[in-house]
Structure formats: structure tokens, C-alpha cells
Symmetry: C2
Subunit: 264 residues, 2 copies
């Protein structure tokens, strides 16, 4: 389940700022792993949470990195050498944090948005490709993979669909770059969720079964039975995760999700 | 179909700024009526379009009013007496424009957003209720109805769901206040689209069958066959409309929609 060890400027996370409660709930509810949304990997609360994952006999499945854009305004598209240097250093530390767990580093909100003229946008897109190349090359030396997450049109203006994310990953052109599929975003962007999920094939490395209203699976109208069947068809070997709004509260949402997963 | 006679700061409209082409396409494709998104009802282009609807033997089904918020920042929640006066005058002219057609006046984006403390938000909500009461009271003298449209969380922070819109309409407490259901918003907000649509019952006065990706019905994953069945069950007598992004272009979208409607 997706949590934030520190308070966050991004809503759909459980137990924000309450990592100890998060880990206890994860153990109690039968989760195998947690995924952490991290702004600064050197933040003592992140280090403590990472250690807590070990002592609770859990695993770290993935590290979400969007807070660098949401809270600091740093994005993959930047043409400011100073910001690029800061963000590169931070993303490399994300990879270091992921390495002992073979966890994934997520390229989600950190992509930022494309702005300005068509030519400006092409340059920004190209800088995003190059940024992910730098991270993935470093990550490959430590056995870590990077995953690109399609995000719906209201939160960013590029890489909204699975197809666009696959094209982006193909431009990056490295074997340790895959796709994260979040069904909440897919419900808005994909004409056929099962078809799009099937299309990811071997590039699919991480899956968030979040319902249509961003609540736990089973609380909205997405047919997770059908999507679960697609995961079996494509021999998916990654985690099934839940990244939801903390409603009605964090623990209830985490419980609803894992109960629905068990029912599939 | 939903058009804008003038260019608009709101994307999901067909033929923005090209009302003559819109009316010709509507006639050619077999539409009975158009709905106009209007910023200023006294704008000569709006007057000309209204006249054009007559000469093309079409009808005007509804007037969308959100541009007053999107372009001018005027909203139902305002505590500025000057803005309230300007917006009231404009909304009354929307009712005048609707009257000869018995068209609906839509309360969509013009609601604005709730801001500040919990108490501020309650006051803003209450002002929105009172605003709709003023418009609906005036509208009732001319045989016009007002419809409240649930809009998804990314575009506003209140009246997102059908249930919330029904509660709001109940607070307004006038018989000529109903609901507009747009399936694009419902796909994000409603846990069960058919159930929510059924719940509107006699309050449902206008329906936009827009697909999950804001394209014409049939281009996304919404089951319009099921929703059409609900409309029959509740003896719906209003229009079936399409409010989509102009993709791949305005006319193609209008054609896709009406062909899908015919197939239901």
C-alpha cells in the first residue's frame, strides 16, 4: 500500500506523516510490502521508515517521487542546470534507497508539465527522456528498475495514456524501464481498460488497483475481476498495490483494498 | 449538441466561435437542438446564433453558463455585492434567452469553488443556494427551469456527485430546479452510474451522454446501453445531448455521438 512517511502535498496517500501506524496496519492486514512516497530521501523520517520496514518484516515495493515536483517544483523537463543537478542528485538517492529492496523508482508527478510553444514542449519532452535515461542507467548498475506511470489529463498534460507511456519508455530505450498502471487514471484515459492493460505485456512492472473514485478497489465501478484475469494472461509477476485517498480513513481503505484483492 | 457561439476558455465544446458551421452540421447530422455555452447573453454573436437556431429550424435545449466563472471569475459563492449584481443581471438575461425555447439554464461551472475556513465554505455554499433561488424564482415566471450539474472533483470542490446535487436542489426547494447528468463526470464520481442515474428520478431534466475520455459516446468505456435503459425506466422526457472535446474534430465528434445514440 502507498504511504507517505512525512506529511505530503499530495492527497492520495495513506497514513501521511504516520509511518509507524502504517507499518503496524500493513502487518496486521497482511500486506507483503509498502510503497513510500518520498520528497527527500535523506529526510530522517524516510530513513526511519525504511528501517521500520525491515524490523516489521515487510518489503519496500516502490518509491514514488512526485513530491519533488508538487512541493519543490523540480521536474524532468527543466532547462535550469541548477534544478537539474539538484533533482538528479535526489533521484540517484531514490535509486540508492530502492536498491537493497530491488524496489521500483516511479516516474509519476515528477515529470511536471509541458509548457509554451510546440517547440518548447518538444524540448521539454526530450529532456524528460534524457533524465529518465540518466536515472535508469544509474539504476541498472544497482539492479533497480524505473517505472513510468500514466497520469490523467487533470494532473499533467503528457504521458496520460498507457500507449503514450509505452512510447516514452521505448524512446528511453533501456531494459530496466517499465510501466506502472494505476486503474484510477486508466478509468479516465483508456477507452478499454483490459485492452490497455494487456498491451503493457512484459513492460508492466507495477500495478495499482485503485477504484474509479480513487477509493479502495471495490468502492467504485472498475471491474477488477476482468483486470485480474488480464494480469494472469500476461504472466504479471509484480505487486498488486493500492494508492487511494485516505477515506473513510487510512486503515479502513487499506483493509477494503486487501479484502477486495483476496476476493479476486 | 453543446457548442459555443463565441471562442471560449472552456475546452469541451464543439465549433467554438463557428456557430454557423455548428448549425449546418446539426441540421445535416439530424440533431433536434443545440445547447449554447454563453458568456455574455448580449454578445451580438450569441444573439445571431440564437436567431440562426430559428432559421435552421432547430431548437435551443439548454444554456451553459460556466464561462462567467472561467472567463470573468464571477461565481454564485461571491460575497462581493458588485459581482453579485453583475452576475445576477447576466443570469436573468440567460433566463430571458432561454424563455422562448423553454430551454434550461445550467448551473455548472458558474458555482465556482469553496475556499477558506469551514465556516467560510458554509457561507459560500449558502450564498450559492440563495443565488439559484433568485434565478429559479425569476425563471419560474417565464416557464424556465434551472438544472444543477454535478462536476468532477478536478474542476470544482463541491456538488461533485449526483447525491450532492440532489441535496443542493432540495435546499433550493423550488419545483423548477432539476439535475443535469453528464456521464463523463459521473464516471469519475459515481460508484455505480446506473444506480446514481436512477436516483435522479423526476429531478432529471437534461442528460449529456459523454464518454469516459470526454469524447463522443462509443469512444470510451461507458455502457450507454445500460444507462439508456435507466432513462426508459424513469420515463425520462428530456434531451439526450453530447458535450465533448472537439476531437478528432467538431463535426466528427457530433457525428459519432448521434450515430451511437441511434444505435441504443
Amino acid at each position: 500500500m502507498a504511504i507517505s512517511p512525512a506529511p505530503a502535498d499530495f492527497a492520495p496517500l495513506l497514513f501521511a506523516g504516520e509511518w509507524e501506524g502504517a507499518l503496524e496496519a500493513a502487518v496486521e492486514l497482511g500486506y507483503d510490502a509498502i510503497e513510500m512516497s518520498v520528497r527527500d530521501p535523506s529526510d530522517p523520517v524516510v530513513v526511519a521508515c525504511d528501517q521500520g520496514v525491515r524490523t516489521h518484516d515487510l518489503k519496500l515495493s516502490a518509491i514514488a517521487t512526485g513530491q519533488s515536483f508538487y512541493s519543490d517544483g523540480w521536474s524532468l523537463t527543466t532547462d535550469d542546470p541548477e534544478v537539474r543537478k539538484l533533482l538528479d542528485a535526489r533521484m540517484f538517492r531514490m535509486v540508492d534507497l530502492a536498491a537493497p529492496w530491488e524496489a521500483l523508482v516511479v516516474i509519476g508527478g515528477v515529470r511536471g508539465v509541458l509548457e509554451g510553444s510546440e517547440r518548447d514542449r518538444q524540448e521539454q519532452y526530450h529532456r524528460a527522456v534524457e533524465s529518465v535515461q540518466r536515472y535508469a542507467e544509474y539504476a541498472s548498475t544497482l539492479g533497480v528498475s524505473v517505472v513510468v506511470e500514466p497520469i490523467n489529463r487533470y494532473e499533467t498534460n503528457y504521458l496520460n495514456t498507457i500507449e503514450q507511456a509505452l512510447d516514452f519508455a521505448a524512446e528511453v530505450g533501456l531494459p530496466n524501464v517499465g510501466i506502472l498502471a494505476d486503474t484510477f487514471h486508466m478509468n479516465i484515459e483508456e477507452a478499454d481498460l483490459a485492452c490497455s492493460l494487456r498491451m503493457t505485456g512484459k513492460r508492466l512492472r507495477h500495478t495499482q488497483f485503485t477504484d474509479s473514485n480513487r477509493l479502495a478497489a471495490g468502492q467504485g465501478h472498475i471491474d477488477f475481476g476482468e483486470l485480474g484475469q488480464v494480469l494472469r494472461e500476461i504472466d504479471y509477476e509484480g505487486y498488486l498495490s493500492t494508492e487511494t485517498l485516505p477515506l473513510p480513513d487510512s486503515k479502513t481503505s487499506a483493509q477494503q483494498a486487501i479484502e477486495h484483492f483476496a476476493s479476486l
